[in-house]
Amino acid sequence: MLVVYTLVFGMIHATPGNPWDTGDKPFPPQVLQNLEAKYHANDPLWKQYVDYLAGIVTRFDFGPSFKRGVSANEVIARFLPVSVQLGLLAFTLAFVAGVLLGSLSAVRHNTWVDRLAMFGAVFGISTPSYVFITVLILVLAVQLHWVPTGGWSGLFDSKIIIPAIALALAPTAAIARYTRSSVLEVLRMDYIRTARAKGIREWVVLNRHSLPNALIPVVTVAGVALADLITGSFFVEAIYQVPGIGRYFVTTVQDKDYPVLMAVTLLYAAIIWVTNFVVDVLYAVLDPRVRLT
């Protein structure tokens, strides 16, 4: 975490320009001075580095946003829950649909089902979310009027449909492909042949004997996807007006809103760290050979 902090701090202060004087019209010099004094931008670098770090460590305080008139903590408190809800829904969709499609492809290997599902997967991986969501909005909202063109009213509202599908597309495709190749590999194992030789029904072979083993590599991919999804997506949130934290990864860089940028970067690092840890624990659950020591 300290490494991430130092890197972000270094990059922020290596970029030229100031965060405020970016509007249509330039500021008078005394206005810039007032702003710099208010946000301690004139302190020596080492002092800024230490003061800011001390604020985070001792008070968990990421400082005031330069642009939003609130603290960076508040930006996260307001908008992270939205991204987490949307991300968890999209992840559930992606995991269920991905594993289902992948297993189906593997079982019906080299049939039209397999080819159709894998065509869908390639489509899903190669279509950027901003293209897919724009098409969804045009078709489902503007043409068919089934759902609104944007906004957010919580988990149980039709407004969540388009962003959840758009977010789920790429991870669904990735999980489907990993599941397929992994299941195919497992199905060729000797113990599966033994199981079949014993006369066990095919769906039991698939569910009880192959899937749990096949899921180990899939869990790794899913863990990365989960970290990615719950931290939000800039494109999906900005295009569909979802008030999530994902937009802040990009807008804070454009705005040079350093406190919020620092807060979201450290948050992202922490989430990746936690999901990797959870994935490691899951290995042990799925594979008895892996033991936690």
Binding site: G17, K25, R68, G69, Q241
Partner: protein
């Protein structure tokens, strides 16, 4: 100026030009929407059609970045005007500064002092009266160095305003005083004949002192805290999502017909809101130029198109202090000016959202002078380049044209201009993409030229000549003594007609003689508006939607 600012006696050419300006801007509008666009409303139908039961107006808005504090935000007064009133209101149709909270004002030229007389029936939502002391407190608060407001330039006209903001004077030195509850006295730093006009702007609105002192500068505008005094009450704010305003039934002035205004917040409302409009979720949306062809070809949408003029000019700005640029040569600048096909840019690239400009000051500003244009075309452009010593473009050293790629249509427009110069003058000019904070660097670094737009802050030629060149807001470093002398004298001229003439002469010297900047086009915007929305206007200044008098017809 004594009480009330008299309507400036516009010269004939100004009046003609203004009509042409609006006419061109409206060429594409269908007839019923044309009447709306002119601010007339559809009078015939207004009598025939009663207001609908549901008086909710649905608009799009750019997600506010600085929590929208009238003292701190430089952007748009659209939301502020729903919640607060100014001492005055500047009527951009009649060019008259109208009384609002101030019923009248007096001016003493010997002491540069204005005395505003306030209404006694304006109330905060708590029921407490809005007094002169509220204005005094707010103006000093907005100027305080601790608030670090980016938006203090207007308040800087008050004596010791800038000094206080720079930490060189105390709050008590700022020359604004409440003489009693209904009398506000304010002294100017320098003669500022347009001061009553700019007290119509949002940094001058009185703010609720009690709340700000209780919850602080960052939280007072949350709906659960805010106290307002305008025609609408701030009812709800789902951050980054929507803002809802409800009619203030205890408003002292004309009660609005609308019951609710719901703002949906977008990262880029200008580009994103059209989809919401087409899905019937919004009543008004901007039409971005890339969508204009599709909208105008659509039978239903094209009938709902409205155009509004903007008090804005886009131009090429030049570094007059750079000794090493070929642009030092006035004949080169004139050749570049004449070689640009502005009609083509406006028609093809901006899709009619603008008007070609050959002079500097927009047609809605008093004292603008269309006669400042340098006559001629491609032939004259080549003659000027010959005279500059580069016949047929031979030996032309070239220069760099800077532009901010994120600025609307900047890439297209600058590329087109460079190609026009190549075609007409046979010269090569390089494009230089620059970041938005580039201008901080060019305060000291030399450059050649960059593309930019300037919107009026208030409708006075001072905001164009004096602010831009005397205040060097463009970093043009233009220090021609003749010109600076002309605009300084014009600015303090007490007779409005003479003042406008003097500014007009200065504009002619600036463009026709000196070509100190190369004007390109005046701004304009295209929108689609649902047919049931009545009396909605879009102000030329800051391009904000004024929905205070709007209402929803039956549909």
């Amino acid at each position: 100026m004594d009480s009330g600012s008299p309507r400036p006696k516009a010269p004939l050419d100004f009046a003609l030009n203004r009509r042409r300006f609006i006419g061109t801007g409206l060429k594409l509008a269908a007839v019923p929407t044309l009447a709306q666009a002119l601010g007339l409303g559809s009078i015939g139908r207004a009598f025939a059609q009663a207001p609908a039961n549901d008086q909710t107006l649905r608009l799009a808005f750019l997600n506010p970045t600085v929590a929208f504090d009238t003292g701190r935000e430089g952007g748009t007064p659209e939301l502020h005007l729903l919640m607060f009133d100014g001492l005055t209101f500047y009527n951009w149709d009649t060019h008259v500064t109208e009384p609002v909270i101030a019923t009248s004002w007096d001016y003493d030229p010997s002491t540069l002092t204005y005395v505003y007389h306030l209404r006694d029936d304006v109330k905060w939502t708590t029921g407490a009266p809005v007094t002169a002391a509220d204005f005094e407190w707010t103006w000093k608060r907005n100027l305080s160095p601790e608030l670090a407001s980016p938006n203090v330039s207007f308040l800087g006209y008050i004596k010791n305003g800038v000094a206080y903001n720079s930490g060189k004077a105390a709050a008590a030195d700022v020359a604004v005083t409440a003489l009693d509850d209904w009398t506000l006295q304010v002294t100017m730093e320098d003669p500022t004949p347009f001061f009553p006009m700019i007290t119509s702007l949002w940094p001058f609105f009185a703010l609720p002192r009690a709340v700000i002192e209780r919850v602080g500068d960052d939280k007072w505008m949350e709906p659960e805290n805010i106290q307002t005094a305008g025609p609408f009450i701030f009812e709800r704010w789902d951050h980054d999502q929507q803002m809802v305003f409800r009619r203030n039934d205890n408003y002292w002035g004309k009660r609005p017909t609308l019951e609710r205004i719901v703002y949906r917040l977008y990262e880029n409302a200008g580009k994103q809101s059209l989809a919401g409009y087409e899905a019937d979720e919004l009543d008004l949306a901007a039409v971005p130029p890339p969508e204009a062809d599709r909208v105008l070809a659509d039978a239903r949408l094209s009938a709902e198109v409205v155009h509004w003029a903007e008090s804005r000019n886009w131009q090429l700005r030049i570094d007059h202090r750079n000794p090493n640029t070929v642009l030092k040569n006035v004949n080169v600048r004139k050749a570049l000016y004449l070689a640009i096909d502005r009609d083509l840019i406006v028609r093809q690239l901006l899709k009619g959202q603008g008007v070609p400009s050959l002079n500097f000051v927009p047609p809605d500003i008093p004292g603008n002078n269309p006669g400042a244009a340098l006559p001629g075309g491609a032939t004259e452009a080549r003659a000027f380049l010959d005279a500059a010593g580069y016949p047929g473009g031979k030996g032309f050293p070239g220069f760099k044209l800077g532009f901010v790629p994120t600025q609307a249509e900047a890439i297209l427009v600058t590329q087109a201009i460079v190609n026009m110069w190549k075609d007409v003058l046979n010269i090569n000019v390089d494009l230089l993409p620059v970041p938005t904070d580039w201008r901080t660097r060019i305060r000291t670094e030399p450059y050649d030229m960059y593309y930019g737009g300037w919107g009026s802050d208030y409708l006075d030629p001072n905001d164009w000549h004096n602010v831009i060149f005397e205040g060097d807001y463009w970093q043009s470093h233009y220090s021609d003594p003749t010109y600076l002398d002309m605009i300084k004298k014009a600015n303090v001229e007490p007779d409005p007609a003479v003042r406008n003439q003097k500014f007009g002469a200065a504009e002619s010297y600036l463009i026709k003689d000196q070509m100190a900047t190369i004007p390109l086009f005046f701004g304009g915007t295209t929108w689609v508006q649902k047919p049931w929305v009545r009396n909605l206007r879009i102000a030329p200044l800051n391009t904000y939607v004024d929905s205070r008098d709007a209402w929803i017809g039956q549909h």
